[in-house]
């Protein structure tokens, strides 16, 4: 009898379990109670500063709509991409998502995003900075709309310039000047540096930026051709090595170790006189370095006339493949990337936006040093180079960087490093 009971219990458990499993995984309600279509918008903007700004933009949009309701879903940086990928594969993605600007082509190629071309005409395209719009086009179609971007400037300490007998209104314009000024700005106490004039790898800049700057803005892969091992790029690496040798490994490391916290930033602490960073670095200066008398300038050109090329990044908004309400989603994207929302975002976040008119409108609202720096960043966008990842070489970064590392660590010569890098990358070309 007992066994029979156990048996029956087991059967019931099994049925219960199966019922539990098969219970339709109900897609989240795609309508609100009052019958509005829900557009699910995924971002990684969850910080204290950013969240209220994006949610205000969403609220404004929602109150102007009677058929659509945009729901903001925050996902942490990193998780958002894998979750997006899984949800696209499962056929149940978000309606709108913020994603990396440099990898749009890859997502288009792998059919992770919807083609937006049907909603986009030339007059819409012209609203955006052309170098940003280029990144969202793939095979003649548009797969995303640029949202925000950044660029890099040279911040310099005017007080230090005066001390060193340099004209504080004349920042260095070429690499040669940069070097000359830097040497004058160094302050040494015996063998120790109390102040370093400049070091090319500090701040928000890497060897690849200098290599592109040297090569008149030419990236590592241009129109499908590998342009890694070029004389100018080799020269740039040698130039960086010269700095390292002059300052000494110990000085570089000792300074680098202090870069952790914002208060201890060496430019703000006036221990480094010139510093390359993104435009938003200004907000740190404003908040923690009230006493620093600084100026901004474009990154010096390799030689006169070769261009003040800086590296840029940013984010786009796009519709994941298979989203349920592409039309409503696109309407929201248009709002997000239009003047009003973009202006609000740029002023509140002190961020560069993709919409040209919005950037100008933001300028009118700013004043004082806020305006000075912002204006410089907007101007700088014309000489900002994006690094979109070509679909033929999806992981070229991870193959190139170790070779650059090795050259900078003195393990190989720059010539050899770039030659090997180009060979490695060529081998992995995807058809």
């Amino acid at each position: 009898m007992k066994r029979g009971l156990a048996f029956i219990i087991a059967v019931f458990m099994l049925i219960g379990l199966l019922a539990g499993c098969s219970g339709e995984n109900k897609a989240e309600a795609d309508k609100t109670k009052d019958g509005k279509i829900v557009v699910d918008f995924w971002t990684f903007w969850g910080s204290e500063t950013r969240r209220p700004i994006i949610e205000k933009i969403i609220d404004d949009y929602n109150s102007s709509q009677d058929k659509v309701f945009v729901k903001h879903t925050f996902l942490p940086w990193g998780d958002i991409w894998t979750k997006n990928l899984a949800s696209v594969a499962a056929g149940n993605p978000a309606d709108v998502i913020v994603n990396d600007i440099n990898t749009v082509a890859q997502r288009a190629e792998n059919k992770q995003v919807e083609d937006l071309s049907q909603y986009i005409d030339d007059s819409f395209k012209q609203k955006f900075h052309p170098h940003l719009w280029d990144t969202v086009e793939y095979d003649g179609k548009s797969y995303a709309v640029p949202f925000n971007t950044d660029t890099r400037l040279l911040f310099y300490n005017k007080t230090a310039f005066k001390e060193a007998g340099l004209d504080p209104e004349k920042p260095p314009a070429t690499w040669a000047e940069l070097e000359e000024y830097a040497k004058k700005l160094d302050v040494k106490n015996g063998d120790n540096y109390e102040r370093v004039g400049f070091y090319p790898l500090w701040g928000s800049v890497g060897a690849s930026s200098w290599m592109t700057n040297a090569d008149s803005g030419k990236g590592f892969i241009e129109d499908g051709e590998l342009t890694i091992n070029t004389p100018k790029k080799v020269e740039a690496l040698n130039w960086i090595l010269d700095w390292k040798e002059r300052l000494g490994e110990n000085t570089v490391q000792a300074f680098q170790a202090e870069f952790g916290s914002e208060q201890a930033n060496p430019f703000i602490a006036e221990k480094v006189a010139m510093w390359v960073d993104v435009g938003t670095f200004y907000t740190q200066l404003r908040d923690y370095g009230q006493d620093v008398d600084f100026g901004v300038a474009p990154i010096p050109a390799n030689e006169e006339g070769s261009g003040n090329w800086a590296e840029g990044g940013g984010f786009v908004v796009e519709i994941p493949k298979g989203a349920k309400h592409p039309e409503e989603a696109m309407d929201f994207i248009k709002y997000l990337t239009d003047v009003e929302a973009q202006k609000y975002w740029s002023v509140k976040n002190y961020d560069n936006v993709a919409n040209i008119e919005a950037a100008e409108a933001a300028l009118n609202e700013l004043e004082g040093p806020d305006k000075m720096v912002y204006e410089a960043t907007v101007k700088n966008l014309k000489q900002t180079k994006m690094f979109p990842v070509p679909v033929e070489y999806p992981d070229y970064h991870s193959r190139l960087n170790p070779h650059i590392d090795n050259a900078l660590l003195g393990k190989t010569s720059p010539e050899e490093a770039l030659e090997e890098a180009e060979e490695d990358i060529a081998k992995m070309k995807k058809e």
Partner: protein, 331 residues
């Protein structure tokens, strides 16, 4: 074009129908079954939640990834059969594959013996009868309780070249410490150092078995005039060898799977300076989720499985020679 999730749903749906039919049939036929068969059936029904979970959530995806390793599967849009192309690419074209395999094997070769020996040594020390031993045991076990990302961040601070505690202490004794996580020569030793810090988990296992070793043996050895080393080598080691065996096998498998450390402790999860921390699983992860080449990543996963399988088999075979099981020679 099928995504893994829909495939999963199919498998689940399929087994559901089958199971229900089976259940219905069995209910009808129970009378005709022998007692033993009924018992077996009930047993299987009881473990069926696990079996269904295993089939649907483990074996299914496992086989799917095996199939995917022969395709150019990219998660969202492609899945064409390309034969052994992925495997060929691994061995002939992908330099990072070689780097990652080298880094991983390097790590396994050093971390397994070091952590095993470290744990045994610690267990021996903590197996003494001294006052306050409980306190020490707790202290040494503590790092094993702390885990994950927080610990990695802690170590990144400790290993900071000029302000970190490790180099500061080395400086006290006149050693100019290396740049640890910034110098490709020292990144892996830095990780090994970090692993050594948390041998407390293994130590606990050894301590437990050491306390079970009969005191009579040591007394007998004392009477014969054995030295402490002889006692350790001829009594302790053989008696704890089953745990050593278990520890070596599990930590070898664990070491091959090293991922988090490199993902968290290198800039953007890139694999560190000069790719010196690009471990096998990190390269695999990058291929799957950065480049969307899930087919290739699946192939890498299966190759790793084969490597680990072979090593474990070798370990098992060798184990018979040195592992001592108390209570007979049954092998």
């Amino acid at each position: 074009m099928k995504s893994s999730d829909t495939t999963l749903a199919h498998t689940k749906g399929g087994s559901k129908v089958m199971q229900e039919q089976k259940a219905a049939e069995t209910v009808g036929r129970t009378k005709g079954l022998s007692k033993k068969a009924k018992e077996n059936l009930a047993g299987y029904l009881f473990i069926s939640p696990w079996i269904i979970g295993f089939l649907g959530l483990t074996l299914g995806p496992l086989l799917f990834s095996l199939a995917a390793s022969f395709t150019d599967y990219n998660i969202t849009s492609k899945m064409n059969f390309i034969g052994l192309e992925n495997y060929k690419r691994m061995f002939t074209m992908d330099d990072l594959f070689r780097t990652s395999l080298f880094n991983t094997i390097y790590y396994v070769i050093f971390s397994v013996p070091l952590t095993t020996a470290g744990a045994i040594l610690l267990a021996v020390l903590l197996n003494q009868k001294i006052k306050g031993m409980k306190f020490f045991r707790t202290i040494y076990y503590l790092p094993a309780v702390l885990s994950g990302v927080a610990v990695y961040f802690l170590w990144m601070q400790l290993l900071s070249p000029s302000t970190g505690l490790v180099n500061t202490m080395l400086a006290w004794i006149g050693i100019d410490g290396p740049a640890w996580l910034f110098d490709p020569e020292w990144t892996k030793p830095a990780l090994l150092l970090m692993k050594m810090w948390s041998v407390g988990g293994g130590m606990l296992l050894y301590l437990a078995i050491m306390q079970g070793v009969s005191a009579q043996m040591y007394e007998a050895a004392d009477i014969e005039g054995a030295s402490p080393w002889q006692k350790f080598y001829h009594i302790t080691l053989p008696m704890i060898s089953p745990i050593i065996f278990f520890d070596v096998i599990t930590s070898t498998i664990g070491a091959f799977q090293i991922f988090q450390e490199a993902y968290v402790m290198t800039e953007n999860g890139s694999g560190g300076p000069g790719n010196s921390l690009l471990f096998y699983n990190l390269h695999m992860w990058n291929n799957a989720f950065e480049v969307f080449d899930m087919g290739y990543a699946s192939a890498m996963a299966w190759l790793l499985f084969i490597i680990v399988m072979i090593l474990t088999t070798v370990n098992m075979k060798l184990g018979k020679r040195w592992v001592h099981y108390e209570g007979g020679d049954s092998k």
